[in-house]
C-alpha cells in the first residue's frame, strides 16, 4: 500500500439521537481506495456511523470532513429499502436515472450522456433487461440490484452501502459482492455496513468492528 490519503476524516465525532449517544469521540479516517467493511452487532452504531458520513445525521459534536475535494454529488448510497419503496409505481429506468438529480441542476430532462451512463450501470448490475419493468413487481434481489445501479450512477468516487445483501439468496449476494469488488478494483472507495462477516473479510482492505471499538478508531 502506498501512503494513505484520507477521503473522509472524523475527529472526536459523537453521533446519536436525542439524549442518546451511539458513537462517542470517534477519530477515524476513510482513505482513498479503501474497501472498508463495518461490522458489529445490531445497535452497535454501524448504520448511525454510515448516516453520519453520508451527511444524513449531523454530528452532536466533533466533525466529519470531506477531503480531497470530494463533493456530495460524487457519493452514491445504497440504503436499506423502505416500506414506501417496496410498492412504488416506478419503472427501473426512472429510478436509476433519478440518481443524477444531485448533479443535475434544474434541467427538466436528462441528456444523452446521463442516459448512457445509466445504461452502463444497469449493465454492470445486470438489470438492463428490467429497464421498463415496474419496481414493485421485481423480486427482492432484483430490487436490490436496481438500487445498486442507482447508487453507481451517483457514485463517482465514494460508494456507501448499508447491508447490501440483506434478504438476497446466496447467488444474488455473490453477484452483488462481485460487482462491488470490481468497482473497488477500478478505483472506487467503498464503505459497506454488513452482517456478513466472512464476505467482509474476503474482499475488504480494512475492517471496522463496532463491537470492539468501544469507540477508539484506527
Amino acid at each position: 500500500m502506498n501512503e494513505l490519503i484520507p477521503l473522509i476524516t472524523c475527529r472526536q465525532l459523537t453521533l446519536g439521537y436525542g439524549n442518546k449517544d451511539i458513537v462517542r469521540d470517534l477519530d477515524y479516517d476513510v482513505n482513498v481506495g479503501d474497501y472498508l467493511c463495518i461490522i458489529g452487532r445490531n445497535g452497535s452504531g454501524k448504520t448511525t456511523f454510515l448516516r453520519g458520513i453520508s451527511g444524513l445525521l449531523s454530528p452532536k459534536s466533533g466533525s466529519i470532513e470531506l477531503r480531497e475535494g470530494l463533493k456530495r454529488s460524487e457519493i452514491g448510497l445504497l440504503p436499506q429499502m423502505t416500506i414506501v419503496q417496496k410498492d412504488f409505481p416506478a419503472s427501473v429506468e426512472e429510478i436509476v436515472l433519478s440518481a443524477f438529480q444531485g448533479k443535475h441542476g434544474l434541467l427538466p430532462f436528462y441528456g444523452r450522456a446521463r442516459r448512457e451512463r445509466a445504461m452502463e450501470c444497469m449493465a454492470l448490475t445486470r438489470t438492463e433487461s428490467l429497464r421498463k419493468s415496474c419496481f414493485r413487481e421485481l423480486s427482492g434481489g432484483q430490487k436490490q440490484r436496481v438500487l445498486l445501479a442507482r447508487a453507481l450512477c451517483a457514485a463517482e468516487r465514494l460508494l456507501l452501502l448499508d447491508e447490501p445483501v440483506t434478504g438476497l439468496d446466496p447467488e444474488s449476494a455473490e453477484t452483488m459482492y462481485r460487482v462491488i469488488k470490481d468497482l473497488h478494483k477500478n478505483g472506487m472507495t467503498v464503505v459497506m455496513v454488513t452482517h456478513d462477516v466472512d464476505a467482509a473479510l474476503d474482499d475488504a482492505t480494512r475492517v471496522m468492528n463496532f463491537d470492539q471499538i468501544s469507540v477508539k478508531g484506527k
Partner: protein, 283 residues
C-alpha cells in the same frame, strides 16, 4: 340525447357555469399531480388536515370582515403545511398525530368563531357551504377565477419544472439528500404547493371533501399504471374527467357539485381497481 345537449348548451351561456368548469379543470389537474407524491409519501391525510386549517382561517377572515379572504387563508395554510410536512422528522409529536391535532383544532375554533361573531342569520348554512362547497363553485367572482388561473398555472409550471426532483425525493429522500439534492428546499416547495392547491380546491368541493381530489385520482392510476410518469399523467386525466363529469351531472340533476365530483372519483377508482385486478389475473 339532443335535449340533453341543448340543455347543456343553454347552461354554457351563463358565465358562472363557464367559470365553474374552468376552475374545476385547473384545480383537479393540480391536485392530482401532487396527489401522487402525497399518497406515496404516506401523507394522504395532509389534504384533509390543511383544509380544516383553511376553514379555520376562513372563519377568522370572515370575522375580521376582510374583503378578500384568500389573502389571509392562503398564507396561514401555507405556514401550517410547512410546519406539518417539514418538521415531521424532528418533532416529538409525529406526523399523523400532528395532522389530527391541527385539523380538528382548526375546525373547532373556526366553527366557534363563526358562531360567536356571526355575520349572517344562517350560520349553519354558511358552515355547510364552506364544508361541502355546496354552491360556492357556482358563485365565483371573476377575480377569483383569475386568481385560480394564475395560481394553478404557477403550480403546474413548478411541477413540470421540478418533476424529476419531486420524483427523486418521493422515491428516496435520503438518497436525494446524500447525493446533493437540497431536499429541505424542495420539501418546502412541495408543502407550499399543496397548501395552494387545498385553498383553491376548497371552492370546488368544500373543505371536507378536498382530500378526495388529492387521493382518489392518484390511487386509481396506481391500480393500473406502472411507471411514475404514466401514473402522474393518468391521475391528471382521471381527475379532470371526473370533475367535468361531476359538474355536468350536478348541473343536470341538480345535485351538490362537490359531492357529485367526489362520487365520480369513487366510481373511477372502482373501475380502475377492477381493471387492475383483472390484469394481474390475466398475466
Amino acid at each position: 340525447m339532443p335535449e340533453l345537449i341543448e340543455k347543456l348548451a343553454f347552461y354554457w351561456e351563463f358565465p358562472f357555469v363557464r367559470y365553474a368548469v374552468i376552475v374545476a379543470v385547473l384545480v383537479s389537474l393540480c391536485s392530482s399531480l401532487l396527489g401522487v407524491t402525497l399518497v406515496l409519501k404516506r401523507y394522504s391525510y395532509i389534504g384533509d388536515g390543511l383544509s380544516h386549517v383553511a376553514f379555520g382561517a376562513l372563519a377568522i377572515a370572515s370575522v375580521l370582515k376582510l374583503s378578500n379572504n384568500t389573502m389571509l387563508v392562503l398564507p396561514v395554510t401555507i405556514a401550517v403545511a410547512i410546519l406539518l410536512l417539514c418538521t415531521g422528522k424532528t418533532t416529538r409529536i409525529k406526523g399523523d398525530a400532528a395532522i389530527a391535532m391541527v385539523s380538528v383544532g382548526a375546525l373547532a375554533v373556526g366553527y366557534l368563531l363563526m358562531n360567536i361573531f356571526s355575520t349572517s342569520a344562517n350560520i349553519s348554512g354558511d358552515v355547510c357551504t364552506t364544508l361541502f362547497g355546496s354552491t360556492s363553485i357556482l358563485t365565483l367572482k371573476v377575480e377569483e377565477v383569475y386568481l385560480c388561473v394564475v395560481l394553478s398555472s404557477v403550480v403546474f409550471l413548478l411541477f413540470v419544472l421540478f418533476y424529476h426532483k419531486i420524483f427523486a425525493i418521493t422515491f428516496d429522500e435520503n438518497f436525494a439528500q446524500v447525493t446533493g439534492v437540497n431536499t429541505m428546499a424542495f420539501n418546502l416547495l412541495i408543502a407550499s404547493i399543496v397548501a395552494v392547491i387545498i385553498v383553491l380546491a376548497m371552492n370546488l368541493v368544500g373543505a371536507l371533501l378536498v382530500s378526495a381530489l388529492v387521493v382518489f385520482p392518484a390511487l386509481s392510476a396506481m391500480r393500473v399504471f406502472k411507471s411514475f410518469f404514466s401514473v402522474t399523467v393518468a391521475a391528471a386525466i382521471i381527475s379532470v374527467l371526473c370533475s367535468l363529469i361531476g359538474i355536468v351531472v350536478a348541473i343536470l340533476a341538480g345535485t351538490p357539485v362537490g359531492s357529485t365530483i367526489v362520487a365520480a372519483d369513487i366510481v373511477a377508482f372502482f373501475l380502475f381497481y377492477l381493471i387492475g385486478v383483472s390484469r394481474s389475473r390475466g398475466a
